[in-house]
Point group: C2
Chain length 161, copies 2
C-alpha cells in the first residue's frame, strides 16, 4: 500500500522558495518531496523513479542523500513553524531553511521497488540552527541514516533585487 | 570555456555496473558524471541542468551531494586501478566501489551558470576502503567540501543469479 504525507510543509513554502529540485512543488522536473509530522517525528516518503539506480536492483545513494537533505530542511521548518505557534495549512508562511552540512551512512544496499520513508528527529542547536537525525527505511528495513544541519535561510539566498 | 575530462574511469566500468543515475554511461536519464586524473588529484566536471536549483539562482545541494558521491567512488576506482598497475583505457576492467558514507559541508551558496569542478584527494584506509576528500569549485570559488568513504563493491550488490 502506498502511503502519502497529507499535510506537508513544502505545500506552504512561499512561491519564491518553492523551486527546489528535491522538494519544490513548482519545479516540474523535480522530485516533489513532501515532509509532514508523524507524532513527534517528521516523515518524508519517496518513490524512486526507475532510472534512479546506483547498480541494477538498488537505489542510487545520491538520491537518498537528496531525500535526507530536503527531509532535513523540511523537518526544521516544521519544527520552527510549530515553535512559532503555527501549523501546516494555517495560511502563515513557514520559515525556509538551507542545508549547512549533510552526513549520510549507507548501512545496507537499498533495494528498488520499495517505498522509502525518511523518519526524522529534530534537535534545536540555536534558534536559527537545527540538527535533523534521519532514518531511512525501505519497507520495514533500516537501510540508511542521515544527519542534516539546517540553517535558517540567510538573506544571501534571496534573488538580487 | 567548458572543460571536459578526457579519460574517465566510468568509461571503463563493465556494462553491468554502468547504470548509475549519477555516473553510469548507460543510464539515459542520468547525469553521466565522469572522473579522471588531474596530476595527483582526481577531477569530475558537472554542468547542472536548469531544473537543478535549490533556490532560484542557486544549485540544488542534493545534486552537489550526488556529484561528491560519484566523484568519490570514481576517484577510489582510479586510485586502486593505478595501484593495480592499470590505467583508464588500457582495456582492463577497473574495480567498482560503493559509498559507505558521505559528508558534505556547504560553505557558500553555489551560483547557477558556472561549471562545477570537484577536485579529489584519495587516501587509502584499507585495501578495500578509501577516503576521498573533495573540494567543489564554482568557477574559481570554493563552495562545498565533501568526504566519501568508498568501499570495494561487495558481492551483495551483484544481481541475483
Amino acid at each position: 500500500m502506498e502511503e502519502k504525507v497529507l499535510k506537508a510543509i513544502q505545500d506552504d513554502y512561499p512561491d519564491d522558495f518553492a523551486w527546489c529540485y528535491g522538494c519544490g512543488r513548482l519545479n516540474e522536473d523535480g522530485y516533489h518531496l513532501r515532509t509532514g509530522w508523524m507524532g513527534e517525528n517528521t516523515i518524508t516518503i519517496f518513490n524512486p523513479r526507475p532510472a534512479n539506480i546506483g547498480m541494477p536492483g538498488f537505489v542510487y545513494g545520491g538520491l537518498i542523500a537528496s531525500l535526507i537533505d530536503c527531509h532535513g530542511t523540511g523537518s526544521a521548518s516544521l519544527y520552527l513553524h510549530r515553535k512559532n505557534g503555527n501549523e501546516v495549512g494555517d495560511g502563515v508562511n513557514p520559515p525556509r531553511f538551507v542545508t549547512g552540512s549533510l552526513k549520510v551512512d549507507f548501512l545496507h544496499p537499498t533495494p528498488v521497488g520499495e517505498q522509502l520513508k525518511a523518519i526524522g528527529t529534530v534537535e534545536e542547536i540555536h534558534p536559527k540552527k537545527y540538527k535533523v537525525y534521519t532514518e531511512v527505511f525501505a519497507g520495514e528495513k533500516l537501510v540508511v541514516t542521515g544527519e542534516v544541519a539546517a540553517v535558517l535561510m540567510p538573506k544571501t539566498f534571496r534573488k538580487e533585487e
